[in-house]
């Protein structure tokens, strides 16, 4: 057993971080918030060229030939940088939808419950569906996740229980989304720690106040537990571990952004600070692929199954 990143996995992370810092740093992020578009086709193609979408396609078929653990590392970095767009759906579509692997196509999915679909106007295809459904734009809470409301058509399944749900995609989609959440959670710890070290009140950095310090420590604890759960789920691929990873990562990201906002004080409530972007995206991801309620029910069912079996050690 050696449950630590390999040299190659570390290099991969460093490479993706460099790429995203150069190509989608803070200025690019804020530019897309202010003026769009939500999905930058140029960036999408660059991600495709870097192997982001074809990462798990075998080399013999023109892909990078890596596995889920590497994908988790890469998606963690994308979550950290808040790269917008249907990254997970397009990654899952690689090798299935033409152009997805190369990043020349933008593929979204019916990964939200209810009748909302993200990135419909930007997408060339919906994973697992024939053609693009019609939809009415909705004012979206996350400025970089445009939403459409899709009407049920003649008895067709609603998006919430559409083809992408209940399929083999759900587990991988949930896992990669969890990886995005972990990246965002760890980033909000960094933001909070940096701010707490610089901002002074009562003649000292606010990070010297225990209420602030302990909040940061809890953010890290949640993020680290979630990160380990995501890596383990990426290695084993077991449905229960994936559900746990999604559950813990959603919580780490959402609560991390909330705590970060509190550390920022009034600045945290501004449009200008990036904290709300992390929070709003974390809210979106928490609704994607597998919600907390679904994950907990899945885990409960698995617990009961395991409890009714004889002890495997026996």
């Amino acid at each position: 057993m050696d449950f630590q990143p390999t040299e190659e996995q570390r290099d991969l992370r460093a490479g993706v971080r460099d790429l995203l810092e150069g190509r989608y740093g803070r200025e690019a992020l804020r530019a897309s918030v202010d003026s769009g578009p939500a999905v930058d086709r140029g960036l999408w193609r660059e991600l495709g060229a870097a192997g982001f979408f074809a990462l798990r396609i075998p080399e013999s078929e023109g892909g990078v030939g890596l596995g889920l653990p590497e994908a988790a590392v890469v998606f963690e970095e994308a979550g950290r940088a808040l790269v917008p767009g249907p990254l997970v759906a397009t990654h899952l579509a690689a090798g299935v939808v033409p152009g997805a692997a190369a990043g020349t196509a933008v593929v979204t999915a019916f990964d939200l419950g209810g009748d909302l679909v993200a990135y419909l106007a930007e997408a060339d295809a919906v994973l697992g569906a024939d053609g693009l459904p019609d939809g009415e734009p909705v004012r979206a809470a996350d400025p970089l996740t445009p939403l459409h409301r899709v009407r049920r058509r003649g008895g067709a399944a609603a998006p919430g229980d559409g083809p992408a749900q209940g399929s083999a995609y759900v587990s991988e989609g949930a896992l990669l989304t969890a990886a995005l959440q972990v990246g965002s959670a760890l980033r909000t710890v960094e933001l909070a720690v940096r701010y707490a070290g610089e901002r002074e009140q009562f003649g000292q950095p606010i990070g010297a106040f225990q209420a602030v310090k302990h909040s940061c420590a809890q953010m890290l604890v949640r993020a680290e537990v979630a990160r380990t759960a995501v890596y383990a789920a990426a290695v084993t691929g077991e449905p229960g571990e994936v559900a746990a990873a999604k559950l813990l990562a959603d919580e780490a990201a959402v609560r991390g952004a909330r705590d970060c906002l509190q550390v920022y004080g009034g600045m945290g409530f501004t449009w200008e600070a990036d904290v709300h972007l992390h929070l709003k995206r974390a809210w979106v991801r928490a609704e994607q692929w597998r919600t907390a309620a679904e994950a907990e029910e899945l885990l409960a069912a698995e617990l009961l199954d395991s409890a009714e079996l004889p002890d495997p050690a026996g």
Partner: protein
């Protein structure tokens, strides 16, 4: 990131399982929680069996009498013994997990030869005399004085919360050998001594815990004479000597317990299914969440063990992250257990009720949650120290 075990590790696990299956049925009945001499004998008896089978001090270095096993093998050992329902380290805790490793790391050859073999063989019990009435979280402010008199220290003061003091042969004692002054900050001037518990002047007064038993005690020291030769490490260097091994306590001390908690969750699910509480979605979801959390805590353990394997066996600071997450999850577990039991949770005849009571100490003992958060914030995140 590899979660598979090597052929060697699998072989180690298989042999251990075989030995446990053969040995556990031969064990005597467990003594009652109040029978301290019985508990001592039981815990030492188990240690003796481990010793005879070559499992004692598994992860200790070979030159300290250990087996030099890798952290992963140690993890497998803790996992398998727990799964098989083997006894806990119990009274051997301090000897095996703290005083022993401290002596192994910092002691002279003579000190190792004197104290380590009896710990490994299950002959002697150690306790930890660190905390004092006025020095808990702020351990370095301890005041128990040791004054040199020829080749002895004469020690006066008192210790508190000393687990297993009633049945211990030795105490790893922190004493002040130099008074705090403008030149001597509180972290200096502390020394680490091995004190025989039967020395004249040592009085042990058991303290009753909220669980009703006497798990710990007050220890009064009235001009106790301890040979200078019993000092491990240099005089006034005891703080460093102690910190070297405190991380051991937080590193792997809870591995078996995480396995045990997962088994408890299975029991909770079965009970809830049988008494109908399972149909309550709120409770069911809480159980599902805990199942996920303990799964993740197990993975975090493997992560930390792999990390220490790469760093040559030194447990990392990640132990504080683990302890914070685990101690709170454990308390939540037994709160949920009470919800599964309903009013029956008010009965001490329920095993989970006693566990619920003892879980309350987890956010206090071995560094409170607040202190762990300080450690995480200051040493991992680099936030400034408070005034």
């Amino acid at each position: 990131m590899d979660l598979t075990y090597t052929a060697e590790e699998r072989d180690f696990r298989a042999r251990l399982r075989e030995w446990l299956a053969k040995t556990l049925p031969e064990l005597p009945a467990r003594p009652s929680p109040d029978d301290w001499p019985g508990r001592r004998a039981y815990d030492l008896g188990w240690q003796r069996r481990l010793y005879e089978a070559g499992y004692a001090g598994l992860h200790w270095p070979v030159d300290a009498g250990g087996r030099g096993a890798t952290p992963t093998q140690h993890l497998i050992f803790l996992e398998e013994t727990e799964r098989a329902g083997a006894p806990y380290v119990g009274a051997n805790f301090v000897g095996l997990l703290h005083a022993g490793p401290t002596i192994a790391a910092e002691g002279t050859a003579g000190q190792r030869a004197r104290w380590l073999p009896p710990v490994l063989r299950g002959d002697e019990v150690w306790c930890q005399g660190f905390s004092e009435p006025d020095a808990g979280s702020d351990l370095a402010s301890l005041r128990t004085r040791a004054v040199r008199d020829g080749d002895h220290y004469v020690i006066t003061g008192s210790k508190i919360w000393t687990s297993h003091a009633e049945v211990a042969d030795w105490c790893e004692l922190l004493v002040r050998t130099q008074p705090v002054s403008a030149e001597v900050p509180k972290h200096r001037g502390i020394s680490w001594l091995a004190m025989p518990m039967d020395a004249p002047g040592v009085t042990v007064r058991p303290l009753r815990t909220l669980a009703g038993s006497t798990e710990f005690a007050e220890v009064f020291l009235d001009e106790v004479r301890v040979p200078v030769a019993n000092r491990v490490g240099a005089e006034n260097d005891g703080w460093r000597v102690t910190m070297v091994t405190l991380s051991f306590e937080r590193g792997t001390a809870f591995v078996g317990e995480v396995v045990a908690c997962r088994r408890t969750l299975g029991g909770l699910a079965r009970t809830a299914k049988a008494n109908g509480r399972w149909d309550d979605p709120v409770l069911r979801r809480r159980l599902g969440r805990l199942y996920g959390e303990f799964g993740a805590l197990w993975r975090l353990t493997q992560w930390n063990v792999s990390e220490s394997e790469r760093s040559g066996g030194v447990p990392g600071i990640g132990g504080s992250v683990f302890k914070l997450a685990y101690s709170h999850a454990r308390q939540e577990l037994y709160d949920v257990a009470a919800e599964v039991l309903g009013a029956a949770s008010l009965s001490l005849d329920e095993e989970w009720t006693l566990e619920r009571l003892s879980s309350l100490s987890y956010t206090i003992a071995a560094g409170t949650s607040q202190i762990q958060r300080n450690i995480v914030a200051e040493r991992i995140l680099g936030l400034p120290k408070g005034r």
